[in-house]
């Protein structure tokens, strides 16, 4: 194992800020956020889970995907380009979120080229969590506080520096010029929280018609905070905005903006029909998307277990409680089916 000494880390980060846009955990108005930094001194290394994920640097909350220029009857279209960026200090759950975005935008044709360009220009340097924090449940959804799977480089803090795990070629290139030392010590595994039950794939469709979703939705305010904080939610809406206007001339931006399936107008179509008319249907979609549709379609969990939605929900809708309730309902039903069948003489 290689060791990146503490003092080399700072000079390395300073060098990165010269070459690329460096995104790193930084304190903004008293809270920790992934933000761009201009010197390594702004980067904080003693942090838990930033308030927001790093999603906005890969899929911005509002992004110009096309510029439209109209001059008399001529139209010109142009697209933005992406600058190189490195996201440093990414928590493994946030990297898992980016992996979900990658599978949705890149794994199947047609590839989303706006996303592909930005993603190709981005390198991810993770830092293992020394522990699971309050509300964290990454181990329940296939992750771990020291999961190296979705980053280019993973750093794990030890005394006097960081042990470097080179995961990809991109990661290898990032540390190519660094002088690393040999590290002979052991890595201590981070302290884990209790693993929560997550239903297996086949059980989810059985829960689709439960009245549970309507009951849960009674307190949902449809504020959509959960989706905006979620590292893996990636739904968007596209709209055009006028930016400049003159005689015989106008300029417009086509914008891609975050959207959320829990919003009441998310599925409304022309004419006013809404296939997901009730809050219960919309909230159910949120959970089915994460725990059934995404895993079934792409083979990884659509929830990363960061717990941000639990912390932020103004009416305490707790995704872990939902998982517990859903699996309890499933098990209860199973038990009653078994006793029912037993009562019939076990012939079924």
């Amino acid at each position: 194992m290689k060791l990146l000494p503490q003092e080399t880390l700072r000079t390395w980060l300073d060098r990165l800020t010269n070459d690329v846009t460096l995104i790193a955990p930084r304190i903004v108005d008293g809270i920790v956020l992934y933000k761009s930094v201009s010197t390594s001194s702004e980067v904080i290394l003693d942090y838990s889970r930033p308030k927001m994920s790093a999603k906005e640097f890969i899929l911005p909350s509002t992004e110009r995907i096309l510029s439209i220029e109209k001059r008399d009857r001529e139209v010109t279209l142009s697209e933005p380009t992406s600058a190189d960026q490195v996201i440093f200090g990414l928590r493994p759950c946030d990297a898992h979120g980016i992996a979900v975005l990658d599978t949705v935008f890149l794994k199947r044709e047609p590839v989303d080229l706006n996303y592909a360009q930005r993603r190709a220009a981005t390198a991810l340097i993770g830092i293992s969590c020394p522990q699971m924090w309050e509300d964290c449940f990454c181990t329940s959804v296939g992750g771990a506080p020291d999961d190296p799977n979705h980053v280019d480089l993973l750093l794990t803090a030890v005394k006097d520096g960081y042990v470097v795990n080179v995961v990809t070629e991109k990661g290898k290139a990032l540390i190519a010029e660094l002088e690393l030392q040999e590290y002979g010590g052991e890595l201590t595994r981070p302290a884990l929280n209790q693993v929560e039950p997550v239903l297996i794939q086949e059980q989810w469709p059985e829960r689709f018609l439960d009245s549970f979703w309507d009951l849960l939705a009674e307190r949902c305010l449809e504020c959509r905070m959960c989706a905006y904080l979620c590292p893996a939610c990636r739904c968007f809406d596209v709209r055009d905005q006028l930016t400049q206007q003159g005689i015989g001339y106008s300029q417009h931006d086509r914008l891609r903006c975050w959207d959320s399936c829990t919003g009441s107008n998310y599925r409304v179509v022309a004419g006013g029909h809404n296939p997901r008319a009730t809050k219960g249907q919309r909230l159910r979609n949120r959970f089915f998307c994460k725990f059934h549709y995404i895993p079934e379609t792409y083979g990884l969990s659509g929830c990363v277990g960061c717990g941000r939605c639990i912390e932020a929900c103004p009416v305490n809708i707790d995704i872990v409680e939902v998982l517990r309730d859903v699996s309890r309902a499933s098990n209860l039903l199973k038990t009653s089916e078994i006793s029912h069948n037993a009562g019939l003489g076990g012939t079924a």
């Binding site: 109209k70 009857r73 139209v75 697209e79 047609p110 055009d240 022309a270």
Partner: protein, 109 residues
Amino acid sequence: MTGNGKPEGSDQHNPMRPYLGRLVGKVDLGTDIKLLKVEMIEPAEKANFADYRPGQFAFVSALGIGEAPFGFASTPSNGDVLEFGIAKVGSVTSELHSLEVAEFLEDYL
């Protein structure tokens, strides 16, 4: 025009980048419903719309207003002109209705 909708080393068209078309005909079908006839401007792009099937639809943009999905009202066997039967129900469709023949709109499959 900067960029061609393709990243370096890729042949794929950017699916978020519309093809430019021109309105070549407009027919009233009833109250607030019009048949819009569209032709792709670039000859090479006509090929992208040479084969479509029942159930397929195109996103049609009213430039500067927005985009919406519309089923084809034409058949590929009738040539290059794409037809869309469009009811005026919102901002995009109102703008599409107000376009004059020979004006731009955009299309993508």
